[in-house]
Symmetry: C2
């Protein structure tokens, strides 16, 4: 079944704002077997919205439209849909009454322009909006269902949930799409794909076919598996098998199969093993501490972080010997090791992490260019040290440093 998602609102045609409702809607439609073939964003103009919708009605089984249902002259979705479907608009007195009550509860007299929100294309069903004044509408035209929902995500999302639960789910006899995500770090995309491709290629021809897409972002690769199945149980069986085959092939570089972030995976490992952690950062500037403490409950294992740019701070807070700094320089394996072991000793934690490097844009030398980062991880006195050559701007180098440090710790604990 084919679906189209339209967002209505001139503000989404500026350089500053775009439609995000469609990601949520796509996920829900996919899981009931709808294939989203077109997403569009159109301004507050009756003719333009109608012009967009007309050819869509020829092929779409479902058209989800968000926005343009408010009380002002700019809110043109109802009118454009009535026009393209070829029906009149009526005032729905029940909606007027509900609006009047809503305003009265807040001690406000309803202004007349709100009657606009009670205009309904003839034959449409009304979808309740528990979090706002504009109701949704459901219009059937030939084989196409048009669903009109308000634009603000906090109004739209619960109405989408209700529509899915009450109407889409019961009538879905066909196959649905079910997804699973593997997260991988520490290997380049091309290497991951060359290992994974022979594993996932045959899945497309299974009785429960699974398609695989690979998405690389900074310091991280995601493999998205999408199974087309008749039931959630059938999909779960096929996806479990697929995930375990990919894990076997990719080994320990897979850090999550349930969507968890690396900081949550590392936090869970620390908590399970009853370990505490302290971190000493130079070039990552506190980002490692901040990511580790993003996890709810991280105070159970996170004890202390220090950000020390200067050599004095490294000596004062981490007991890094002055001689070591002079002999090897601040960005060196001996110093990173001394930082990790020093913070663990000072904070009396099981785990210490030291990160030192050059995040740029200044500060690079021919021997130690921008992007040179040394990471040490000490776990109960056993220390691993790695020197990395990272690319990108300052924020990218900070992110990759924190990512690499957490992954080193994960592998040492795993």
């Amino acid at each position: 079944m084919k679906a189209c998602i339209v967002a209505v609102g001139s503000e989404m045609l500026t350089p500053f704002k775009t439609d995000t409702n469609s990601l949520n809607i796509t996920e829900r439609l996919n899981s009931f077997g709808y294939d989203v073939r077109l997403k569009a964003i159109v301004g507050d103009d009756v003719e333009e919205l109608a012009g967009l919708l007309e050819p869509v009605l020829a092929w779409a089984d479902l058209v989800m439209i968000t926005g343009g249902l408010g009380p002002t002259e700019d809110d043109i979705t109802r009118e454009a849909v009535a026009k393209v479907v070829g029906v009149e608009m009526d005032v729905d007195e029940q909606i007027v009454e509900r609006l009047r009550e809503r305003f009265a509860k807040r001690g406000i007299k309803m202004t007349d322009n709100n009657r606009r929100q009670a205009m309904v294309p003839r034959g449409a069903r009304v979808l309740e909006n528990p979090n706002g004044s504009a109701p949704g509408l459901w219009i059937t035209h030939g084989k196409t269902d048009l669903i009109l929902l308000p634009g603000p995500p906090r109004e739209m999302a619960p109405m989408l949930d209700a529509f899915v639960r009450e109407h889409l789910a019961p009538s879905a006899g066909a196959r649905g799409l079910f997804r699973r995500t593997l997260k991988i770090t520490g290997r380049p995309e091309s290497e991951v794909d060359s290992v994974a491709q022979p594993v996932y290629a045959p899945w497309l021809k299974q009785p429960v076919p699974i398609s695989t897409t690979i998405l690389a972002s900074l310091g991280q690769i995601e493999l998205h598996l999408t199974a087309s199945a008749r039931t959630a149980g059938e999909a779960a069986d096929a996806l479990d098998r697929a995930v375990s085959q990919l894990r076997d092939a990719l080994g320990s570089s897979v850090y999550s199969v349930d969507g968890s972030d690396l900081e949550a995976v590392v936090g869970e490992l620390l908590f399970e093993r009853g370990l505490t952690i302290a971190v000493a950062e130079s070039c990552s500037g506190g980002l490692l501490a901040s990511r580790l403490t993003d996890v709810p409950g991280s105070s159970r294992y996170f004890q202390r972080g220090v950000v020390c740019y200067s050599n004095e701070a490294k000596t004062e807070l981490l007991d890094v010997p002055d001689a070591l700094l002079r002999e090897h320089g601040a960005v060196s394996e001996p110093v990173a090791r001394a930082m990790a072991e020093g913070i663990a000793a000072r904070a009396k934690t099981n785990v210490g992490v030291g990160i030192t490097g050059i995040a740029g844009p200044g500060g690079g030398t021919p021997e130690k260019p921008v992007g040179t980062v040394v990471i040490a991880v000490a776990v109960n006195g056993d220390t691993t040290v790695r020197t990395l050559k990272l690319f990108g701007g300052r924020a990218m180098i900070k992110f990759q440093s924190a990512q690499a440090a957490m992954n080193m710790l994960r592998l040492m604990l795993g």
Copy 2:
């Protein structure tokens, strides 16, 4: 003049990915007076792309299409455009030659499917791609120009720049749209709008009209001013006047009129005044240090950060007296003050910041619920302390804490 932007690629119709090129394109087109009336995302299907484009050709002066120009069967943009414009496709031997050279330079033999990238709808002009193999194309059909660019932003952006510089800018005689952004923090959106609205409302009717939109995000409000003018100079005069009127009305809550982030504004103030800073964080978990050190050159003023969750760490690293912690609790004004003054004394900096609070989800009490955050900022021994009640999840409370601390410091230095 009316424009339409189309992104081609089935991956952008999944729940995980959306088109972002269009924001950049919109900004460039706006500044030459093009009004973007429709944005669409369509999958890798000749018929569907052609079906979308057909009605667009009736109204659009400019259609920008990104993606679908690669060498594989999935890359259907050239074919769909040729079809809808009604022309044949030819192999451009010059493109083939350039591709062959490109591969040879990398020591790779060109595979045959790359010839697909040399297929050109008859009459099209070729736009060079300095960062990839797929060239862009420019086809004129009636009054409509269709510009085809590759999808990856690092290939697309420089080609867009070149097209704008070489073709759009010279031919633009009409009015262009020019923008300016004010960033504001520390006041609620409704208050900002009630102060700003009487100021900006009359601007729409000026000879150089300026429209204003207000965008609120976490801990920050942006006012976007868009002037429609014949020249950049004319726009700059009107926008300068507008910005200064808004600054007068909104006062010190405006922290940036040039797009700078709060951390950059604060960093500039510290650097200008020759001040150094150290920060002591509890509930913000290192985020303040991380944001301050996101700014290139921050090592000139940022000396030290510590993240101390435990009372012991507060005593050991910041000399917060044990008695103070016992008497007032870790989340209290006296402790925040002792943290700020303690870190400044220890690190021998001019400025010290202390943040202590409850980021949640656990740890709240009836007297000090989740979201209670106390911030102290000490500048050369003069200390300001504020207690905030923040809302939202853990990450939102961390962000707002860091934002409020930087804003307090800005106002003390301003």
